[in-house]
Amino acid sequence: MTIEVASVAVSQPSRLWLAFSKNPLFWLGALLLAIIVAVAVLAPLIAPHDPLEQNIVARLEPPSAEFLFGTDNYGRDVLSRLIYGARISLMVGFVAILIAMTIGCTIGIVAGYVGGVLDQLVMGVLDVMLSFPALLLGLMIAAMLGASLQNLIIAIAITEIAPFARVARAPTIALKQQDFVIAGRALGFGPVRIMGVHILPNLISDVVVMSSLWMASAIRTEASLSFIGLGVPPPTPTWGSMIREGFDNILDAWWLAVFPSLAILLTVLALNLLGDALRDAIDPKLRGE
């Protein structure tokens, strides 16, 4: 019996990179996200105006050479507010989802792997959390904690824990009956090693793909909470609060709601493209050899 053998041994990171680089959608998503992140980071350098500076004379100006995306109800430059808003939206999205993913996955994997009473208890609590709409739950938590950027992130993270736990738990239950997990127990591996090395990597692609979607939902929740006044307090610009403010004037000042919506759309698109590319790259079976 002979098998053909790869001529060069390729280490894992470079394999991942190879898989990435061959995927054009990855590049599109990466480019988009890179631009958005760059804009957020370089906001003070590229914003043409002060995002907070009011100019009553130039209220609700349509897009022009001076105000590329027009001005809002207080005469503030929409483009500059958009650029600064990217910081808040991205930070809330990334940090909240990162927190929710870490906690949710841990809960889901442990509950699924240990099973029994613990599983029923944990999933019961999570079901209760899931039965509230994310906005309502976020609203309750934000109201309890008070309005600030940090509390907003905590509130959104908590609302997203339950879905992450669910997405992690179901494959855990399937994986723990797989022979390679049983083999791990037979080889004397501890539960932490089995969960971390043998279960987590086999479900992380599901979680990552979902997290790109939930990041979008986190950005939406941020928008809604900001509008109600439980998000980042005004006048700090966030995309969500900009849409809500623009919504009142949608008929005579379309640019107020359209540009922040476009910003959210592009961000979500970039996240979804990256999520798909990551899933394909992580799964060796989907890799073109």
Binding site: M1, T2, I3, V5, A6, A9, V10, Q12, Q178, D179, F180, I182, A183, R185, A186, L187, G188, F189, R193, V197, H198, P201, N202, I282, P284, K285, E289
Partner: protein
């Protein structure tokens, strides 16, 4: 090496396992393994045969503590396996390994073969990375695969190659007992032969003890010194493999043997037709589990369960029939198809 308290024998006594399933209409108990006892002397191989659902895989997993048995004792080399905890259990796990049936689910798809083979060494042994690499490569070569293949992922291999990798993983820790749970059943016949030859070579070179679980009588006959025949969670017959299959003492063993096709046109015989279905383990018949399908059953069989008793020269069976020998039988409810 581990200090030896016994003589390397593996002894199971009165092992039982009941699964309880909580359904809509209350709990249902399935007695998967019922009072099973056997012994695997060091360096020998014991076959465990029976049809699907007879509990043989549960036995295989229970003796490795992958499923916790309800009662009974498991002793390996003088050490009580059931009582072992923590470090003692880990030390035991090093010495007893398992090879699985399905080569596709037995390897972690996200790990290279090198990672799969080196992980147990890293967990159990305090040796240098270089030694770990060498051991993994040696295991790979021992199962007949090139060491370059270590860098690959499981999906790049065929079923037979994966089974070799599964065997290599079981061997890296130099175990003394290997439980082969239908280890060749999922493979093509030609690959089966290769894997069997590999296992045989390993047994001879390393002096391994084997518990060989299979439904394939031909494979068991080829590989095992002794055999236990299981039916509905109980052992119904036990003895040297060749004797048991040539001269079965239990009607069920005979039925099993006669159902097995013989690849010789001159030895063609009518295939046996079995009356009745295997009773559900959730609702076993009273008395002998086999009596509803047994032509030689009489009143006692449906009332009291026959115990596994030594009959003669190294053989045991659980049957009341006084003249259940190969020659005397004609009465088993069989007919030409």
């Amino acid at each position: 090496m581990t200090t030896s308290l016994g003589n390397g024998d593996f002894i199971v006594r009165n092992l039982s396992k009941t699964f309880v399933r909580h359904g809509g209409s209350g709990a249902r108990c399935v007695r998967a393994v019922d009072d099973v006892s056997f012994r695997v002397p060091k360096g020998t191989s014991l076959g465990l045969v029976g049809e699907s659902g007879c509990g043989k895989s549960t036995v295989a997993r229970a003796i490795l503590r992958l499923i916790e048995p309800d009662s009974g004792s498991i002793v390996f080399d003088g050490i009580d396996v059931r009582a072992a905890k923590g470090a003692a259990l880990r030390a035991l796990r090093r010495r007893m390994q398992i090879v699985f049936q399905d080569p596709y689910s037995s390897l972690n798809p996200r790990r290279t073969i090198r990672q799969t083979l080196e992980e147990p060494l890293r967990v159990h042994l305090r040796i240098s990375s270089k030694e770990i690499r060498e051991k993994a490569e040696a295991a790979m070569v021992e199962v007949g695969l090139p060491r370059e293949a270590l860098e690959r992922y499981p999906h790049e291999f065929s079923g037979g190659q994966r089974q070799r990798i599964g065997i290599a993983r079981a061997l890296v820790l130099d175990p003394e007992l290997v439980v082969a749970d239908e280890a060749v059943s999922a493979l093509d016949v030609s690959v089966q032969a290769q894997i069997l030859r590999l296992l045989e070579g390993l047994r001879e070179r390393r002096g391994l003890s084997f518990l060989f679980v299979s439904h394939d009588l031909g494979v068991v006959r080829h590989f095992c010194d002794r055999v236990c025949v299981m039916y509905l969670g109980r052992i119904v017959e036990e003895g040297p493999t060749v004797d048991v299959f040539d001269r079965p003492l239990h009607p069920y063993t005979r039925l099993l043997r006669d159902s097995y096709p013989v690849p010789d046109p001159r030895a063609r015989r009518p295939l046996v037709q079995i009356v009745g279905e295997v009773p559900s383990a959730a609702n076993p018949p009273p008395g002998c589990g086999f009596h509803p399908r047994c032509a030689r059953a009489d009143g006692l069989c449906s009332v009291e369960r026959p115990q596994l008793e030594t009959v003669s020269d190294d053989r045991a069976r659980a049957c009341y029939d006084p003249e259940a020998t190969d020659v005397a039988w004609g009465g088993l409810r069989i007919g030409a198809r």
